[in-house]
Symmetry: C2
């Protein structure tokens, strides 16, 4: 009973001819690894005949001015997020992370990162102001008659512009400011839903649940401060009065959520959330000749790959030496993306590269192990191709992402703090390479992930086009968006019912006391 995976790609082909005209989409992306994902979606939208206009800063790091598949609206901002600063902070984080994990992750998600977060959102707000103060931009925006806004929910530009233009909004992402997006829209019992950064699973001890609820409160306050101090003034200035930013940020028609329940723990969701986790994954293409030759030379032992994330590609020298020495002891070949000083301990079996075709390597039958830092993209690709993982998490959600694989028996997490002690690194690699259960579990996850009635990318395209066909998806938006917290949680009703019960009890008590006294008096009189 096996499902052919071709059917959902075929579905999209079937859909294509019926579109009489393409839609006109305004794209409000985010920088960094988020853009990499958005870009893949934009290429797919372009190939379906839609017109795309991407809003970018003239100082953008990743988003190119000229593209064959989208137009740009470049905003001449003065400030920009300082890429160098962020890279340095990331490097420091790695050093610091060598102390402890996941406490570090916890601290960074909540306190250490607050400063960067506030700066980050302040810069983004200046971006929105610059746009909406510029008559030429306003004219372009209005004249373009966009059908919808497609935005990354990790900052407030998308919802503000969608409200400003009064067009439907589709989100593509997994984070809303500092929290996992589900916490903003779906009921999230913190008794079994771990807050990102805690390093907990969906089965928590009592003390873990205490920590989880406390971190939830901290994240909630952090989000609220950023909403009120940074974004609310922009709403007050450019939108009709009484637009609460916290309300408009959750008022999207469709949430394309870059996760699924093969990867994440099952939890309550909402009708307008569409799971597109792994939408960027695709079958491997043939490798470049020199890589294929290197991979084939590994013989029956196969290959270990170690790419690194968007920001960190250099490690401290001593750590790089330890890693290279461990690699040298393996019978496998190793492909290592590393830009730092060439480690002195590097073995003949290790190929150091500037860049590697990660997806094509993961889909190659010779690849036996993936050394991952735990970014969402890499973890999703590991699931898609069913390759076991040794994880070296550094910051943000990386530990939590890898934990989801480890819990399912497909990965082993190493702490940066102890990676260079007692041959931990080598032992972990050898364990995952020799124990077949790691690969079997990743293959099982891969089968589950691939067994969907519609492929994630096709779901994304369908719902974006649905929103354009029907001018929104109001019928999928629950009334909870429009409610104050005390109405939503029935606080007023519970108080009313408690008061009513107390009143009945009190009245009964008074009545009985009066009756009792009257009886006593009568008795006294008689006596």
């Amino acid at each position: 009973m096996k499902l052919p995976l071709c059917c959902s790609a075929l579905l999209v082909l079937l859909l294509t001819p019926s579109f009489s005209h393409g839609g006109n989409i305004l794209v409000i992306p985010a920088e960094g690894s988020h853009w990499i994902n958005m870009d893949i979606l934009l290429q797919a939208l372009h190939s379906r005949g839609h017109t795309l206009t991407v809003v970018r800063s003239i100082k953008s790091w990743y988003i190119k001015e000229n593209s064959s598949y989208y137009n740009t609206l470049s905003i001449p901002v003065e400030k920009n997020i300082d890429e160098e600063l962020i890279t340095n902070v990331m490097k420091e984080t790695v050093q610091f992370a060598r102390g402890t994990l996941p406490l570090t992750s916890f601290v960074h998600m909540t306190i250490g990162m607050v400063g960067i977060f506030k700066d980050f959102h302040a810069v983004l707000c200046e971006f929105v102001s610059t746009m909406l103060d510029d008559p030429a931009v306003i004219k372009t925006l209005h004249e373009s008659r966009f059908d919808m806004v497609l935005a990354d929910p990790c900052w407030g530009g998308g919802p503000i512009l969608a409200k400003y233009l009064n067009v439907p909004l589709v989100y593509n992402g997994r984070w809303v400011i500092a929290e996992e997006a589900h916490f903003s829209i779906a009921p999230s019992p913190v008794s079994y839903i771990p807050v990102t950064g805690t390093g907990f699973t969906d089965r928590m001890t009592f003390l873990q649940r205490v920590k989880n609820i406390l971190l939830y409160l901290i994240t909630y306050i952090q989000n609220d401060v950023i909403a009120r101090q940074i974004y609310q003034p922009i709403c007050d200035k450019y939108l009709d009065p009484d637009h609460d930013f916290n309300q408009i940020k959750t008022d999207a028609d469709i949430w394309l959520m870059k996760t699924d329940f093969v990867f994440d723990y099952p939890r309550p969701t909402m009708p307008n959330v569409v799971y597109i986790g792994g939408f960027q994954c695709k079958p491997a293409k043939p490798l470049p000749e020199h890589l294929e030759e290197f991979v084939q030379s590994s013989g029956e032992h196969g290959v270990v790959i170690m790419p690194m994330g968007t920001f960190v590609s250099e490690l401290p020298d001593d750590m790089a030496n330890e890693i290279a020495a461990a690699f040298a002891k393996l019978p496998q070949k190793v492909i290592w993306r590393y830009k730092g000083k060439r480690p002195s301990t590097l073995g003949n079996n290790t190929l150091v590269v500037d860049w590697m075709p990660q997806n094509d390597l993961l889909g190659h039958p010779k690849i036996k192990l993936f050394l991952a830092h735990g970014g969402t993209n890499g973890v999703q690709e590991a699931i898609y191709h069913g390759v076991p993982v040794v994880g070296l998490p550094l910051y943000f959600d990386q530990y939590d992402n890898l934990l989801r694989l480890q819990e399912r028996g497909g990965a082993k997490i190493l702490s940066i703090a102890t990676v260079d002690k007692d041959d931990n690194f080598l032992k972990a690699i050898q364990e995952v390479l020799t124990d077949p259960s790691y690969r079997e579990n990743m293959q099982r996850l891969s089968r589950l992930h691939r067994d969907q009635p519609v492929k994630p990318m096709d779901k994304a395209l369908f719902w974006i086009e649905f929103v354009m066909r029907h001018k929104g998806a109001a019928h999928l938006k629950a009334q909870s968006y429009n409610m104050s917290w005390f109405t939503y949680h029935s606080v007023d009703v519970v108080l009313f019912l408690t008061a009513a019960v107390l009143l009945v009890l009190l009245t009964s008590f008074m009545f009985i006391r009066c009756l009792f006294r009257a009886l006593c008096k009568r008795k006294v009189k008689r006596e």
Copy 2:
């Protein structure tokens, strides 16, 4: 930008050849209109090569012993649900309903029906006992090596048998004992989710929210009483110890929910809930010759149809006369399913029938109006074909179902209490026939309902087969199933944190008091 509707039917055709063998499914259905739906699903499963064994009572009303597409396991029960009794209760309900609505609906859903409900579940429990006490049945069950149980969640037989046989469980339904199934599995804020029977929408006033929370509590208690008194003893007797019925009833792998958010109000849901509302709907087939002739004779005015529900096809004489008289005044032709005494006021334009091909009529372009009692099947068919409705709700969820159409501007609800007063009936029909907004709104709902990436029936088949391929869908089941209510709601953590805060406050207070006293003493000494 219009979607071709053929694609999802094509999808299933694409899936078919890849199944190397069919699955072996044990079906635990429910009687009445629920069976009509289940039967449609069984035919589709049979056509995809699966073997079906339907468990039925030898006294079953609807489920036939001999079928070309399923085997039966007939259980020789002594008691049976008395169809005549139920029919009589239904008739009384109609009489009673002529008093008020939706209060009647409320009363019946909560108090009036409790007796019937308890009897109903007690009879069903005897059914399970008879099965599990019969060595021949047990032998058959074990030897059949079923891949899964497909059950209606409105009674406890399905989950108990699935647990007994230790096989995956898929539900097909919308009710769990006395409540809408979502309330059993998904967080359900009663501040905007109306309890069935209240006749409220998802936008409630303060007093409506008070009533809603009270009805929620009553329903909750009613369900809990039936679970503990009727089903728990069966679990204790036939299953391993410590199986709590309330837990096992929510422990299904997949919930095929017979609703969607074109019909119902959007609300929180869970990853293993699959919406298949309207899965039984299909394009109209040509009408029988005599009906087509009658329909065509209506000319430009078109036709009004009035089928009735599974139980009620007779109305009180006076009411039937009023209805017939109103029909006689219409320029339209009328097709009326009615088994009672021929009303004296019947006009020439009205054709009384014993049965009508409801779906084929609703899909006929000449049909202008659907007089519906508000059963889920009829309402879904009205949405599918986009036909406006005048609703005459009687009991259960009928008022609430029709309210969802009325709220979207596609229907007008008449109270049975006032239907025969002041030409209300005639006026309602004329209003819905002449005001084009009713048809426009139903057509809009129809477009939304049909615009899905996968057709509801195909979704149902996909997820049933998914459960057989992967021996369950554990990765979609949230941990909430395994948690006690006080852990789930973090009651222990909140109490702990409150105690901690109080302790800190108290200690600080004591410390400050001691310090203050010590200072005072020293001062006194000095003086």
